[in-house]
Amino acid sequence: AQSVTQLDSQVPVFEEAPVELRCNYSSSVSVYLFWYVQYPNQGLQLLLKYLSGSTLVKGINGFEAEFNKSQTSFHLRKPSVHISDTAEYFCAVRLTQGGSEKLVFGKGTKLTVNP
């Protein structure tokens, strides 16, 4: 079975500081990995995804993530955050089961950017 662990439930940082949100997955097969962002009272928006190829993937709003197969990690990073990055971030893995595919989400990390 595939599962996703987000190691930090809350991450407070100051504006313009770098941030890393950690995500580990468990899977015995190749995976598709995703990061989604949820702004307050809104739906989920895709930030970036890893399907194959280069292990460093770049997404929207200056975010990037690195796929590390040996450590089964897919950590999200941004070198300098803004107040507007305050949101909840979800890591997800695509699970294939019984011929159908669905996303399995981590429990989320709340990023709070303080002035």
Binding site: S9, F34, Q42, G43, L44, R94, F105, K107, G108
Partner: protein, 112 residues
């Protein structure tokens, strides 16, 4: 440019009442999903559908039913609402053989 639309956006129910959440997508997607989001739990899959006329159970299906009579619509029903079903519900859809899943804006349901 509607994408995935959920109705209603907010609803308060009394314990034991029934209701239906409607999800509509205009992107001709085959896959549709219903998730619930609870604090500290992330999103958990309730039911999903891989095409018109087909549905399947997800991680937390108890207390819910679904129907996919038309390709563009996926209905989530609560036959007898319970306070434990107080949650934010998200519908999502995806085209077969693609990787991007699109989410609706959410439906806030409170059961008192």
């Amino acid at each position: 440019n509607a994408g995935v639309t959920q109705t209603p956006k907010f609803r308060v129910l009394k314990t034991g009442q029934s209701m239906t959440l409607l999800c509509a997508q205009d992107m001709n997607h085959e896959y549709m999903y219903w998730y619930r989001q609870d604090p500290g739990m992330g999103l958990r899959l309730i039911h999903y559908s891989v095409g018109e006329g087909t549905t399947a159970k997800g991680e937390v299906p108890d207390g819910y039913n679904v129907s996919r009579l038309k390709k563009q619509n996926f209905l989530l029903g609560l036959e007898s609402a319970a306070p434990s079903q107080t949650s934010v519900y998200f519908c999502a859809s995806r085209k077969w053989e693609t990787t991007d899943t699109y989410f609706g804006e959410g439906s806030w349901l409170t059961v008192v």
